[in-house]
């Protein structure tokens, strides 16, 4: 059963649409859980308030980690994969019934895991490093969720096969679907790794296996924990290209380059788990240096290629629309009133300048010494997963509400502000945490005053200032997320129905006119911006190595 979209002209399978809606709704519920916990956590770590007791602090760190990093993101990605494989490809959903089974498994996993955590039976953090042991149902819940997600990914491939056989998209798969496909391939690798580690751990928690080696556990767990972030990156970058197309009619200036960069993500995914072991015993330096980089950091290279390709897709389209003056008119005349567009631009900036730079620097063998397990690490991934992935998902939702839920966005003015507010909040939070970490503040730690310990430690007095920044950022980000959730919920359940193109609040751009062939650079503005990025990166790079050189000698 299809409907033809009166706005985009795409054929939409009604079954698929329903699955997308339900998965998206559960994503939003998970995000709500995650941010409520996040607010309580930041209010606890800020010592003058110190809201929660130790027990509930650690419990909610676990709860926040799972809901934010697993449930919110994967529910949304499953919705995205269904969207990418049916709507974009004009095809039907291969097996809606199985889709509902997958959904049921994921919901069951979410419910079981969250209940067990809140009952206090699994205060083990997201990473649950053995020999810390949680209740068996905790591991079982995660396994159920992962099996559900895996089935969802398999259905995605099923849809691709149908689309290919029935030639619903022409000769070549569209770039967005291609990017999502790489995300799906990485998801299979990741979820398989997850099974390799969670199933024995589950058996161990039941007492059927005697011992799970902690170093082995950590190595394999990160094959899941970090590779899953590469799913996010691939999905996120796909959405970046999609937004460029929807908002200004842009596309990658060289699709071969963009597609090759996606392939690099798949090939160099194993890098991810190695850089979590840089300061660990058990593996040698040669192993660490080789496996974090494979000599040339090709996954980093892939992101840097997208860092040029995505903004240049906006730039080139804008120039074709006539915004050709100087280096940056394409940017100043961009559709800033479109919240999806501003969300994506801010996500690109935050992901690159905050998450990307720190990620690469912290992921080098020696510099890892000065940040490992400090609060700089969650600071770094607030820059990647939260400003990058979450803000991107928030942004694209502004298109999904009218196109998939067929509702107008209620409070559109607020929606135009929301990405900015969220960006400022998370940027402050992230930068605050990174600086605190560089000053030695540990992550996942209830009491900065070490009360009850035999000694105490006073951090550099500068931490007080950065704790205020962190608190401020956390509160702003919480409010921005709450606004987003309210807009989504009110629009989806009570918003006025969309009856045609006249009800679209976000523009959908037609293709830009063909540009005149010209000599010189295609995207000079983007090139300047990427050079700016390079300068920031190099500054941070040398700063970190300088700090490292000032520490004690160790070998």
């Amino acid at each position: 059963m299809f409907r033809t979209c009166d706005i985009t002209g795409f054929k939409v399978d009604l079954q698929s649409e329903k699955l997308i809606r339900y998965n998206a709704v559960f994503a939003v519920i998970s995000l709500l859980f995650a941010v409520v916990a996040a607010l309580l956590l930041v209010l606890t770590r800020y010592q003058p308030i110190h809201l929660l007791g130790a027990e509930w602090y650690y419990r909610l760190v676990t709860f926040h980690g799972l809901n934010a990093l697993i449930f919110w993101i994967i529910f949304f990605e499953i919705a995205g994969l269904y969207f990418g494989s049916t709507v974009i490809l004009n095809t039907r959903f291969c097996s809606p019934k199985t889709g509902w089974w997958a959904f049921a498994l994921m919901v069951a996993g979410l419910v079981i895991t969250n209940i067990i955590i809140l009952m206090g039976k699994a205060d083990v953090m997201l990473t649950s490093y053995t020999p810390l042991k949680a209740h068996p149902l905790y591991y079982l819940g995660i396994i159920l969720f992962a099996v559900g997600a895996l089935i969802g990914v398999i259905l995605f491939f099923g849809n691709l096969m149908i689309a290919r056989r029935e030639k619903t998209y022409g000769e070549t798969m569209p770039l967005v679907a291609y990017g999502l496909m790489t995300a799906a391939i990485i998801a299979v690798i990741t979820l398989a790794t997850g099974a390799i580690i969670y199933i024995p751990t589950f058996l161990w928690s039941l007492g059927l296996i005697n011992n799970i080696d902690p170093a082995m556990y950590k190595l394999i767990w990160w094959g899941l924990g970090h590779s899953s972030q590469q799913i996010n990156v691939a999905a996120m970058v796909s959405i970046w290209y999609m937004t460029s197309f929807l908002s200004v009619g842009g596309t990658s200036i060289n699709e071969k380059v963009s597609r090759s960069a996606f392939v690099l993500y798949i090939l160099f995914i194993c890098l991810a788990s190695a850089h979590h072991l840089l300061t660990d015993p058990g593996v040698s330096s040669a192993w660490k240096v080789w496996n974090t980089s494979y000599a040339m950091y090709l996954a980093v290279l892939a992101s840097m290629i997208h860092a040029f390709a995505v903004p240049s897709s906006f730039e080139v389209a804008q120039r074709k629309w006539g915004y050709n003056k100087g280096l940056f008119q394409w940017l100043s005349k961009a559709p800033w009133g479109n919240p999806a567009f501003s969300a994506i631009i801010l996500a690109v900036i935050g992901f690159g300048f905050i998450g990307g730079t720190t990620g690469v620097i912290f992921g080098m063998e020696q510099t890892n010494i000065i940040v490992h397990n400090t609060i700089a690490i969650p600071g770094h991934f607030k820059g990647t997963v939260v400003i990058g992935t979450t803000l991107t998902f928030m942004g694209i939702t502004y298109y999904l509400i009218p196109l998939i839920f067929r509702r107008k966005i209620v409070g559109f003015k607020l929606a135009q502000w929301q990405p900015w507010l969220f960006f400022i909040g998370i940027a402050l939070l992230s930068i605050g945490m990174i600086v605190l970490g560089q000053l030695g503040v540990p992550r996942r730690h209830w009491d900065n005053t070490f009360s009850g310990g035999p000694f105490t430690h006073n951090f550099n007095p500068a931490v007080d200032f950065f704790w205020v920044i962190t608190l401020l950022g956390g509160i702003i980000a919480f409010l921005a997320t709450l606004i987003w959730i309210l807009i989504v919920v009110v629009s989806v359940f009570w918003g006025p129905k969309v009856n045609g193109p006249q009800d679209m609040q976000l523009t959908i751009s037609p293709l830009p006119p063909e540009g005149k062939p010209h000599k010189g650079f295609e995207a000079p503005g983007t090139l300047v911006l990427t050079f700016l990025f390079l300068l920031v990166f190099l500054a941070l790079f040398f700063l970190n190595w300088k700090w490292l050189a000032a520490t004690w000698n160790v070998n």
Binding site: V176, F245, G452
Partner: protein
């Protein structure tokens, strides 16, 4: 076009000048980072070591204990203080929830740290220097440290290790000469004569000797991290006035009342999870390897602690 099939000929489109330029720069940067890490191994002074030994929690606990017994010069807040010789092997044990021993090091001298855990995964975080390493049970990580500055340093635990995680903090002091010891109150400390620490193997110990040895074990084995003797009971029951008291405990979920006697203490040391004192279910007591003689001494020590 990203939602549509790309234009014909997309595969053969030439890469634009600026994009090519950026990709080449990016690749050079990526290669440089790889080379940089290797060069730092040659010219840099901070490199994680590749030396690890397989061990067990029991073996490492015994090694550390023996090491502390041999080299201890005193106590600092219930943690033994050790002053290792430069270039010697130093044992540092992480356990729930303390770092033991406290170390006195000399500036610009090297020490081979052996770091491992007695129970679960911990994080070694030297502050305010800010150097961080992972600590596993069963792996003895050998790191050759050379302190380059004077002063008092703390070892924070930065890997979540249970409800008492925030109380896990150790100490390292770096001195230049003997006079510096006074700054930290370590000037009066002397290495104990061997005999005082050595157990009287042949003739049976008197009760008061047992109490003294029991107190040493209390600090050495780390009981002090949770069991206090001043009546405060945050993570575990306090020991003063404990002996002879009746206590509520849970055995496999069932609540019951027992009286604290030799047998109960012995059982709690050997099988900590069997009977858990009500109100302390969260802080899981690890198994601490001890022989019968040592257990007797601990019992004697607890007996001696009155309210």
């Amino acid at each position: 076009m990203s939602l549509l099939s790309p234009k014909e000929g997309w595969y053969d489109t030439k890469v634009s000048k600026d994009e090519k330029m950026w990709m080449v720069i990016a690749l050079i940067l990526c290669l440089m980072m790889f080379v940089w890490m290797i060069l730092w191994h040659v010219y840099g002074k901070q490199n994680p070591s590749s030396t690890t030994y397989r061990t067990t929690t029991t073996e490492f606990a015994q090694l550390t204990e023996a090491y502390i017994k041999r080299n201890m010069i005193g106590m600092d807040n219930g943690i033994p203080v050790v002053r290792p010789e430069p270039n010697s092997e130093v044992f540092l044990m992480a356990e729930m929830w303390r770092w033991s021993p406290v170390l006195i090091l000399v500036k610009d001298q090297s020490y081979n740290f052996h770091i491992s855990s007695k129970d679960i995964v911990h994080g070694f975080s030297l502050q305010p220097v800010n150097m961080n390493f992972q600590v596993y049970p069963g792996y003895d990580y050998v790191l050759r440290f050379k302190p380059t500055e004077l002063g008092e340093f703390k070892i924070v635990c930065n890997e979540f290790c249970g409800i008492g995680h925030h109380t896990m903090i150790g100490k390292v002091v770096v001195i230049e000469n003997e006079e510096d010891l006074a700054k930290y109150g370590y000037d009066k400390m002397k290495k104990a004569p061997e005999a005082a620490v050595e157990e009287g193997a042949e003739k049976p110990l008197t009760e008061s000797e047992k109490v003294i040895l029991g107190e040493q074990l209390y600090n050495l084995k780390g009981c002090v991290a949770c069991h206090k003797t001043d009546g405060s009971a945050v993570l575990a029951p306090a020991w003063n006035g404990l002996y002879g008291k009746s206590e509520k405990v849970k055995e496999s979920g069932k609540e019951m009342e027992i009286s604290v006697d030799d047998e109960y203490i012995r059982e709690s040391i050997i099988e900590p999870q069997k009977k858990i004192a009500v109100g302390f279910e969260k802080a899981i007591m690890p198994v601490t390897p001890m022989n019968d003689k040592e257990i007797d001494q601990i019992i004697a020590y607890i007996k001696s602690l009155k309210n």
